[in-house]
Symmetry: C2
Subunit: 358 residues, 2 copies
């Protein structure tokens, strides 16, 4: 048995409390970049792994053991809660979710059933309970945000332009808001259940909301996100609010809620933090493609991010989006070591600056 | 014969000179949103239209006559110069360019032939000459930027993540720079030839460069763009520098060059202009998806953009990306009218402010 004590670096950083080293984890740290996972996938589908709590826990634990990351994220898919709500979909390898009957009209929305996580997704909650017995780092639960889930439901699959989603939003604003309300209600239930089962932090993936301009975000998304975060307020664990390509939306996303904002590589972390008045923790923001380059490049870019974070409490090192399948696990492992080894110099630099301040 | 005099509003705005009304044109104003174009496409492929100067001129003129826009843009495709350079590709409807043998190694790059526009693309230059005899508005020529063309050559087609492009860039920086040099040299020749044939402005489409973070833009793209713009300096016509999702790159793109920056709807025009110290004209930035909504929405969003531009000399109204095929021509026509009718109030507001200033 390991006698290692619980590593709470990640949770402290979410709350913008001082840490000894910058915590680091990776979106999709459990997945196709790991040979063990690829082997499992020869026998089980992604959804089967999610539905078998022991297997799900095993997959979730793999990167924690191998990479030394400071947080585990439950192995799951943002489409999971949509199944019991009545949506038929499949996860198509290399493409993503494909929805059989995309949402077009009012009855398609009315038909969506409310989510009852304990009844509908017991395996997710069971996996969380199993993991809490094993883990020495915090466990992150998660869900897709209403906009991002709606985009899959309306497009019927992944999109580059989100044309149908936007057309629906503009042409049928009442239906749009009804859809987002129903999705937000389900997500709140799902995240609350994950917290109750033992998740120690939550991440809300609004991965595709960056396709919107700020005025549209304010009109069509912000009210739902604000309500979602406000209904989660009694869940007393940190929440990460994540999206890709959100450079123009960050103030509004901060207004919507979340203890941590997840940002991508298209923005400079130092500039973003200043814009946000340092009132929110930041997670990010290495381009996952960097890990396909030589180690020297990874090192240079990672140190640049640590320098931009400047050792200020409230930075969680992560990628700006998920690990690519072709990423070498060795690079990921070295990157964790690098962040752990090199961050203390930035942290002590920041502390001494603070002390020197009048 | 029309006795209407030449409308130089667009050219004046490119040079940040005062105008009576805000000029407006649309990327992909000639294309699938027009029934006449769709009819032509039943008989001719896109590349065939490009190769038949009379037909190309006709397609270019259609939206000018029907919509009343203040500029024409030559009907063409950014892949055109790659054919004579030795790249085999096809334009697949609904998807985009598909390159038969994507670039992988040094010989793939060395094999690329220099472009001789007069020999290789005489039909483009002939179409420009024909159009200059017909048009009462300026004619815009264009080319893809080195990064965006390289992304098609390396990915073999459109991409959402540009993983292969970035992996190549990181793993083979010397080859990457060699490729971008060759592409930039060809683009310079092509744009110079278009100007010589009579194009009165040029647009450089770096449509996909927004997938890069600022440090990568600086290292892998900026030197080539800077050289491209500097080699075009003796071409004494305005150049528009365009990309999508470039919110984090705009200062660097301004540094690279261009009289006008084309921006998309993910950023606020007023904030961008301030960031850029008003030293560059701006083109944009309505979300093309807005045009799929009701007219009231289009009107509201368009007026918001005019208000953000604030009547300042140097704004060209456009979309943040190309017109979607399913866009109604009526909406486009009304939008042109709206911009022409309503912009004078913002323009006179700005002028009186200027006069009132000490």
């Amino acid at each position: 048995m390991s006698t290692q004590s619980f590593n709470d670096r990640f949770l402290r950083a979410c709350r913008r409390q001082p840490v000894d080293r910058t915590p680091v984890w990776f979106m999709r740290q459990a997945g196709r970049s790991q040979p063990e996972y690829r082997q499992l996938r020869e026998r089980y589908s992604l959804l089967e792994i999610c539905q078998l709590p022991e297997l799900c826990a095993e997959v979730t634990l793999l990167p924690v053991r191998q990479l030394g990351v400071d947080a585990a994220i439950l192995f799951a898919d943002i489409m999971l809660p949509l199944g019991p709500m009545g949506v038929h979909f499949r996860l198509q390898g290399g493409l993503g979710p494909v929805v059989e009957a995309p949402i077009r009209r009012s009855p398609d929305i009315e038909r969506l059933r409310p989510l009852e996580p304990e009844e509908d997704l017991p395996f997710v909650l069971e996996a969380i309970r199993l993991l809490r017995g094993e883990l020495k780092v915090p466990l992150i639960g998660f869900a897709g945000a209403p906009f991002t889930l709606a985009s899959y439901l309306i497009e019927g699959g992944p999109s580059r332009t989100f044309t149908q989603t936007k057309a629906f939003m503009y042409q049928e604003p009442a239906l749009w808001h009804r859809l987002l309300e129903k999705l937000a209600a389900a997500i709140v239930q799902f995240l609350k259940a994950q917290a109750q089962a033992g998740a120690q932090a939550l991440q809300v993936f609004d991965s595709w909301v960056g396709c919107l301009g700020p005025a549209d975000y304010r009109a069509y998304v912000l009210p739902h996100m604000r309500r979602l975060f406000s209904e989660l307020q009694d869940v007393d664990i940190p929440i990460i609010h994540f999206g890709v390509g959100t450079g123009g939306l960050l103030e509004l996303m901060q207004e919507a809620g979340g203890d941590v904002l997840g940002i991508d590589w298209r923005v400079r972390l130092d500039q973003v933090w200043q814009r946000l008045d340092y009132r929110t923790a930041l997670q990010g923001n290495l381009d996952p493609a960097t890990l396909l380059g030589p180690w020297e490049l990874v090192e240079r870019q990672a140190l640049k991010i640590l320098a931009q974070a400047g050792g200020r409490p409230g930075h969680i090192f992560n990628l700006g989006h998920g690990v690519f399948p072709q990423t070498s696990p060795e690079h990921l492992q070295r990157l964790v070591e690098l962040v752990h080894e090199r961050s203390p110099e930035f942290i002590s630099g920041f502390s001494s600056q603070e002390e020197a301040a009048p």
